[in-house]
Amino acid sequence: MLRLRTPWRLFHHWDGEPGFHMALDEALLLSQGAPPTLRFYTWKPDALSLGYFQRYEEVAPAARGLSMVRRLTGGGAIHHVHELTFSIACDQDHPLYRGEVRASYERVHGLLADVLAELGVEPHLRGDGKVHSDSPGSVMCFHESTDLDLCWNGAKGVGSAQRRTQGRVLHHGSIKLAGSDWETGVAELLPTAPGLTPQDLAQRIERRFESLGFALEDGELSTEEERRSRGRASFFGSQEFLGRR
């Protein structure tokens, strides 16, 4: 079991603007020396985020009028609605993330699986199995799974991706309470946990963190993090960044 003494910073940003979320996650990623940070958020307006390497012209038609931002993390596009989004930013040698990328996913997804199981689903890593949410040719993250993805009811239910730079890691995760017209056939939580809100789910994950020995404390941004994120809020939805590829 992981026993971590360094307290984590905990943030909740409900109904935040898409560009704000991406800029703040970038600031947290680049915040050398900052304590590990866990941030839960939801989006207003709901938006489509592109993976870092996706081609804009391939994804733009799928947006169908949604706001768009590009993430710093890779993978497919995500429609951020009916979900709890989280980000983790910490040093790469933190016990949760040290070593191979694959091992870090197994740790984080193991922690999330414990929480999801409390909600009446049977989460598991996809492994070599198949899921019916996969849709070849789709640009959407939830329609393309890997063996490390968390699935239940034969479908993918958690989207996740990491960015690693300068000894730091940013982990993005999206946990679906329900699907949308953009993300049909995904694994959902509301059918087995009616009335569940993103806030409820965040609280459950926080309790799981704490039960594993992770101390969480309400966080405060450093002056540098605030300055950096404020200055970049418009960048992630700009044509300059959306169209970089």
Binding site: Y52, F53, L72, T73, G74, G75, D93, R98, G99, E100, V101, R102, A103, Y105, T146, L148, S160, A161, Q162, R163, R164, T165, Q166, G167
Partner: protein
Amino acid sequence: MRPDDRKYTKTHEWVKKDGDNIKIGITDFAVQELCSGNEGDLVYCDLPEPGRELETGETFGEIESVKAVADLNTPVGGTVLEVNVAIDEHLEILSRDPWNEGWMVKIAPKSKALDGDNLMDAAAYEELLAAKEA
């Protein structure tokens, strides 16, 4: 023991003299962290255009595995002369031979000496990795 004909960084790049120029790549450790021995897990590598000026420590490219994007940083400033275009189509080169075939960029360095504080020899790099494992 990793090759002792080059210098290493704590972020797992290597840099090696190539005549008056230098070549830069990433170590076997970096590749292993990204793909755990599954060479198919590496999906994309973005390298700079020749002619680009790079400062020491600047990000010159990105590599994407199935579940992570990692920045590639130059340990030495200079001008990009050439990139290894073979990597684009054959990312498995990085798993097979990160030391020679898997070089990423060739740079005309601003300083010819590989003596920056950010660089270490093979023995020191081995020690760094051993400390990570501990």
